[in-house]
Structure formats: structure tokens, C-alpha cells
């Protein structure tokens, strides 16, 4: 048969590889900065753009979408071409994908420190960027499916299934979680409120981990591990079972992020059950990876690439065992809101994603430049310092998480809290924060060494942008294999495959969502819960801008240790006007859901100016700009209108008198502050923030509140 000549596009792989290393360095550096701020809060230099709340999402977004994202695209663009025996569908789309993605990263790096955020974790970017993400993602999809359609290899290797599942699911997740109504160019409100918003967000958040940090990397593992080890994957059959069960089960497990919350109990239980079931496919993947090296373990001792991959797969195994354990309610009761979770995600990010990426880079760069790695010694150094970094990081965070959680829950023999002052539990773990920063820095040093090593490698090699290849064209022929036709038929039809994968993930989503959305009684309304006043609404948006929810939850769980510390546990009906919900996922500071009325206005005024003046030793940064910034009220009318359009019952025409109400309430608070001796002015942002904080959790304190089921 005549062979067709074509070339592989290595240029695009090189671009993504470069971006991976660059953004990896940036994302990790920001991580070290915020880790340091947690024991040295003055390192925000009283500059809004450098404050923890604003740059913490910069760190997570940079690592997830810039570092890991570019690594995924690098790995896919190289392997997909080889597995399909075809050049990428369109060089133009490859370019659009690459430059579009980098542009999105840059716009995130600008808007997040400026305080433009939706407050939803791993989906903080505002609506114009959301649209850009969708467009670039579609360009990537067209490019990928175009390549698959014009392939010269009839059957799709399992790695490609993982790529397809990734693309389909991320598309669905992104669209569903980003439905928001714009107020202005960089401000919007989600159409969901409270409990529903929380459910959608954590369905998204959980599956972003599943389908952005897990499935594409499993695909990469199935390609690059056999390549690096030069032996086929241990069991191809296992990879098939593992693929379908993984995408089927993962999609259901989101509610385990909301255990003991105001989410309906049945949804919580569903999340737990599916999380436990997830161990099976996850470990199927891990075992398949590790057993691929059976009989070749002697090579692991010498080959840094295999070392990285083995630790990556082991970290994957640990994280995917720990995850289901954390979904058990009794474990979750201890771990949730603490540093334990931070440790858990970093085992995944530093171990699984980071180390697999490094392994691939060490394999790929010499390949692309047709040379040997510059220094094996440096790669080994990177491996050991990186591993040491992970150990320091993880052990300190486990220690700190468990310590703090037990302190929160400790009662005296008389039945009162042993540590009623939250700050005491924070000061106890500050040494662990220092160790964590050291661990992160060690890891970072390793990455710098890798960057140097890779650059040196490229210098000694010769890069070939288009790599010549040849393969026979794909012609229709009789399937040579006798049995088990249907699944292979499916593999011959990528579009059907796409559709089936979509159905698999949609079933989970729909069964989770429909009841919560359609059955009103799922969220009992509470008659005394009223919409926010215009000033409170503005204050809430400042709370969102400063990302207070990065460190403070608004969710009192139904434990005695929490109701003693914070007050009445949180009810679903209290959040019905919260667009977006602000439950938070980490308590670096205390819960704020019942903070309303707990302190006088003056306390908040001084506390925001300098937290340690009210709580000596506090690790909260200062927010002096809130006292001097003028409150922007120009969009009040629009905000009220948008809120009404998504179901908040402001009376008709209220927007016209909203400003009057706003000023009246601001005057009241200002007068009170002035009486206490604060040089407060009524048109500053601090007034709105105080109004919001004082409102929090107060509605149900009204006497004789009634639930309407």
C-alpha cells in the first residue's frame, strides 16, 4: 500500500512546553508568597493587589490552568499526532489555542489582583474571560476532533478516550457553572443562589479536579509511561474498565465537598457513596501504571524520568485513597475547613500533576531537540529536592490541620470550649506554616534547576519544527478481529464516542441537580429572611472583591463545638438571596455566618484598619484602603435590577429609591462610629462592609421565625 507523507507539528508542542515551565515558575512563586503571608501578614505591604485574598486565586488558577493546563496541551499535542498518525488538524487552530490560552492567563493575572472575581473557587474569572475560555476551548476541541477524524490509525488508543472525556466534560462544567448575569464589564451575579449555587459550584470544583487534573493526566500516563519505560501498559483491558468506571462515578461525587452543610442530606449521602466507589477505578489506574514497570524496576533506580513517574503515580494512589476517606462524614467532620485539605490537594498537585509533568518534560525535550538530557545528575537532584519538598509540605499541613481541628472541638470538663478564642488555635499552628513555606520553596528550587537543565538541553540539540512521517492512509476494511465488535465499532467512531461519554457524565449531573432545582421544598424558606439592603449588597461585593471567603467560612455546621463557638447552625433557607453563595472552604479565620451584631461597628472599623489592634497576634492582613476608598454607588440601580431579574424580590421600582436607602443606612452607621470616636465618613467602602458584616446571620435571630416547608 502506498504510504502517505506528512509531518508532525513539533512547533506547537515546543510552545506549550515553554509555557508550562514559565507559568509553573510563576504559579509556584505566588504560592510561596501567600504561604509566607500566612505567618508574616505584613508582607501584603498594605497594598490591595498583594493581599492574600486576591492573590490566593491567582496561585490556584496559575497552577491549575496555566501550569497544568499548558502541560496537558503539550502532552496531548505531541501524543495525539503520533497516536493518530496525522498532523494536527489545523495549524491556525493550534495557534489560536495557544495564544488564546496565554491571553486568558494574562488577563487572569491582571484581573484577579485587581479584585475582579466571581468568588467561585477555580472559576473566579469574570464573565468576559469566561466567554474567551469557552471560545478557546472550542478551538482546541475542533483541532482535536479534526485530527482524530483525519487519523490514519483505525483504533483510538485509550489515551485518546481520556482526552475526549476531558474535553466534553470540561465544556459542560464550564458552561453550567458560568451562567451569570452581567452588571458591568467585569462584574456579574450567578443565576443560582445559596444552596443551589453551592451544589453547582462544587459539582464544578470537584469535577474540575476530576477532568482537568485527573483524566487528561491519566491519558498522558497511558502514553508517556510506556514510552519512558519502553514497554506496553500492563493491562489494556484494565484501562478500559478503569476509564468507563472513572468517568461514570467521578461526576457524582461533588457533594462530598458540602458534608454537614445546609445541602439536603440525600445529596450529601449520594456524594459519599460515589466517593467510596471511586477508589476502585482510581486504584485500577494506579495499579495499571505501577505494574507497567513490572520487571523493570531496576531501571527506575537509574532513570530520573521513571522516578518522577513512579512518585507521581504513587501520589495519585495516595490522594485518591485519601479523597474517599475524607468523604466519610466522621473523617470530614475533622478535616473539613482545615489544612488537612490543603495537604490533600498538594499531594495531588505537587506529586501527581507536578511530577508527571516533570517526567514528561525530561522525556520530551531531548526527544524534540534530538539530543540527550543535559544533566542526569541535575534531574536526580530535582527529583530528590522535589520529593523532600512534598514531604515537608504535606506533613506540616497534616499536623497543623489535625491539631487545629482538635483544638476547635476540645471541651473542658465543665462543658465549655477549651479554646474559645479562635486565634489561639491559629497561633498554635504558625510554626507549621513556616515549615510548609520551606517545603514549597524546596520544590520551587527543584523546578528552577529543571528549567536550567532543559534550557541547556535545548542549546545542545537541534529543534525540528516539522518532523517528517509517513503512514498508509486509513481505508475502509473489514475488521480483522473476530469478537467483541461493538466497543471497537465505537472506537472507530469518535463522534459517537464523544456522545456516549457525554451521556455518562450528564446522567450523574442531572440526577443530582434536578431535584434540588425543581422541588421547592428542598430549600425551606424562612419568612424572616429578607433581601440585602442596597448598602449591604455593596458591602457584600467588597467582601467578594477582597475574597474574604478565602479564609472565612459562612457556614456553621451542626456540631456542638461550632454552635458553642459561633451560634445557631446554618439553615438552607438563610441563603436564598445569596448570589453567589459565600460558604468558603477553609477556615484560616473564624466562621462569619453569625458575626452580625457580635461586635460593635467601631470594633470592625479598627479591626479592618489593623487586625492586630483588636486581636494581638492575628495573621489577618490590614485593609487600610477600605477606610479611605470612596464607595462606588453608581451601579446600585443596576445591581438591584439584576438581582430582581434572578429572583430576589425587591419591589418594583425599588431601584429608584435604593440610593436614598443606601445613604440613610450609611449615615446611621457613620454617626455610630463617630460617637465612638472614629473619624469615619459615610461615603467610604468600610461603611458598606460593616453594614454587610453586621447583617450576617441575623435574620433568623428575629424572634419567632417560622419555616415554610
Amino acid at each position: 500500500m502506498e504510504l502517505e507523507k506528512f509531518s508532525y507539528d513539533n512547533g506547537i508542542v515546543r510552545k506549550f512546553a515553554f509555557a508550562t515551565v514559565l507559568w509553573g515558575l510563576v504559579g509556584m512563586l505566588v504560592g510561596i508568597l501567600i504561604a509566607t503571608q500566612l505567618f508574616a501578614p505584613a508582607l501584603n505591604f498594605n497594598i490591595p493587589f498583594l493581599t492574600f485574598g486576591r492573590i490566593r486565586p491567582l496561585h490556584t488558577n496559575a497552577v491549575i490552568f496555566a501550569f497544568v493546563g499548558n502541560a496537558i496541551f503539550m502532552g496531548i499535542y505531541y501524543s495525539l499526532q503520533r497516536l493518530c498518525k496525522a498532523r494536527m488538524f489545523s495549524d491556525l487552530f493550534s495557534s489560536i489555542h495557544f495564544w488564546g490560552w496565554q491571553l486568558i492567563i494574562v488577563s487572569a493575572a491582571i484581573t484577579l489582583p485587581l479584585g475582579f472575581t466571581t468568588s467561585k473557587e477555580y472559576a473566579e474569572l469574570e464573565w468576559p474571560i469566561d466567554i474567551a475560555i469557552a471560545l478557546v476551548w472550542i478551538a482546541f476541541g475542533i483541532n482535536m476532533f479534526g485530527t482524530i477524524l483525519k487519523r490514519r490509525e483505525k483504533h483510538m488508543y485509550v489515551a485518546i478516550w481520556f482526552y475526549i472525556a476531558t474535553w466534553v466534560t470540561v465544556t459542560v462544567l464550564h458552561v453550567v457553572n458560568s451562567i451569570e448575569i452581567p452588571v458591568s464589564f467585569l462584574k456579574s451575579y450567578p443565576i443560582y443562589a445559596g444552596v443551589q449555587d453551592a451544589l453547582v459550584q462544587w459539582w464544578y470544583g470537584h469535577n474540575a479536579v476530576a477532568f482537568f487534573l485527573t483524566t487528561p493526566f491519566l491519558g498522558l500516563m497511558y502514553y508517556y509511561l510506556p514510552k519512558a519505560a519502553n514497554r506496553p501498559v500492563y493491562s489494556y483491558k484494565l484501562s478500559i474498565v478503569h476509564f468507563w468506571t472513572l468517568i461514570f462515578i467521578y461526576i457524582w461525587a461533588g457533594p462530598h465537598h458540602l458534608l454537614y452543610s445546609a445541602l439536603p442530606d440525600w445529596a450529601q449521602s449520594l456524594g459519599t457513596v460515589f466517593s467510596i466507589m471511586l477508589i476502585a477505578p482510581s486504584w485500577g489506574g494506579m495499579i495499571n501504571g505501577l505494574l507497567t514497570l513490572r520487571g523493570a524496576w531496576d531501571r527506575v533506580r537509574e532513570n530520573p524520568i521513571l522516578k518522577f513517574m513512579v512518585v507521581a503515580i504513587t501520589a495519585y494512589g495516595m490522594a485518591t485513597f485519601e479523597g474517599p476517606m475524607l468523604s466519610l462524614k466522621n473523617v470530614n467532620a475533622i478535616a473539613h475547613f482545615t489544612d488537612w485539605i490543603i495537604s490533600h490537594v498538594h499531594i495531588g498537585a505537587l506529586g501527581w500533576n507536578g511530577f508527571l509533568t516533570f517526567g514528561i518534560l525530561y522525556w520530551l525535550i531531548p526527544k524534540l531537540w534530538k539530543t540527550e538530557l543535559y544533566s542526569k545528575k541535575l534531574a536526580n537532584f530535582h527529583f530528590w529536592i522535589g520529593t523532600l519538598g512534598i514531604v515537608f509540605y504535606a506533613s506540616s499541613m497534616y499536623w497543623s490541620g489535625i491539631t487545629q481541628s482538635l483544638m476547635w472541638k476540645q471541651f473542658t470538663p465543665l462543658g465549655t470550649l477549651q479554646y474559645p478564642n479562635f486565634l489561639e488555635t491559629v497561633l498554635q499552628i504558625v510554626p507549621m506554616y513556616i515549615i510548609r513555606m520551606i517545603g514549597g520553596s524546596l520544590y520551587f528550587v527543584g523546578v528552577i534547576v529543571m528549567a536550567y537543565n532543559l534550557i541547556k538541553t535545548t542549546r545542545q540539540g537541534a529543534f525540528q519544527k516539522d518532523e517528517a512521517a509517513e503512514a498508509p492512509p486509513l481505508v475502509k476494511f473489514e475488521d480483522p478481529f473476530k469478537k467483541g465488535l461493538r466497543h471497537r465499532w465505537l472506537e472507530g467512531k469518535p463522534i459517537y464516542f464523544l456522545f456516549l461519554a457525554l451521556v455518562a457524565i450528564l446522567i450523574g449531573g442531572i440526577i443530582e441537580f434536578v431535584p434540588t432545582f425543581l422541588i421547592k421544598s428542598n430549600i425551606p424558606t424562612i419568612a424572616s429572611v429578607k433581601p440585602y439592603t442596597p448598602l449591604e449588597l455593596q458591602g457584600r461585593d467588597i467582601y467578594i472583591r477582597e475574597a474574604c471567603n478565602s479564609c472565612h467560612s459562612q457556614l456553621v455546621r451542626p456540631f456542638r463545638s461550632e454552635t458553642e463557638r459561633y451560634g445557631e447552625y446554618s439553615k438552607a433557607g438563610e441563603y436564598v438571596y445569596d448570589h453567589p453563595f459565600l460558604w468558603g472552604s477553609k477556615r484560616t479565620g473564624p466562621d462569619l455566618h453569625r458575626v452580625g451584631g457580635k461586635y460593635p461597628n467601631f470594633w470592625h472599623y479598627l479591626h479592618m484598619e489593623n487586625p492586630s489592634s483588636m486581636s494581638p497576634g492575628s495573621i489577618m492582613p490590614s485593609y487600610p484602603w477600605l477606610l479611605t476608598n470612596d464607595l462606588d454607588v453608581s451601579n446600585t440601580e443596576k445591581k438591584i435590577k439584576v438581582m430582581r431579574s434572578i429572583g430576589v424580590p425587591y419591589p418594583d421600582g425599588y431601584e429608584e429609591i435604593a440610593l436614598q436607602d443606601l445613604h440613610a443606612q450609611a449615615e446611621e452607621i457613620t454617626l455610630d462610629l463617630q460617637k465612638s470616636g472614629a473619624p469615619a465618613e459615610s461615603d467610604k467602602e468600610i461603611i458598606a462592609l460593616i453594614a454587610y458584616l453586621q447583617r450576617l446571620g441575623k435574620d433568623i435571630k428575629a424572634k419567632n421565625y417560622s419555616t415554610n416547608k
Binding site: K85, Y157, P232, Y236, P480, A504
Partner: protein, 70 residues
Amino acid sequence: MFKDYLQSIEGVEVYAIISMIIFITFFIGIIIWLFKVDKQYIKKMRELPLEKDSSMNFGEVHYKNPDKKN
């Protein structure tokens, strides 16, 4: 507590049962398929990423007589 919400949904158990049935059916289907599938196909797929010579990997000629494979 939250049991109030749980009990307020009529027939809430049905969601868990439906989900279980869908999943188990699908899982069994995959297992049955794996028992029936052609071993040569699995062998070919396993080795797909490792194939060095692109002219050697085309299914028809190469695999119709799998015995001749070294």
C-alpha cells in the same frame, strides 16, 4: 436536623436506586465485552504507542495472520 429536608422529598430513595442500577448495568456490560473481545486486538492496542516504524502498524495485513507475527 437535615433529616427534615431529606424527608420532604417524596420518594427520595429512588434517586440512589436509579443511579445504582444505571451504573451496575453499564459496569456489567463492559465486563462482558472484555470477556468476549479478541485478544489480538488487545495486544495491538497495548503496543500502539510503542510502534516505531509507522509502516508496520496497519491493521489489515499485519494482523489478519497474527500467527506470522514474531
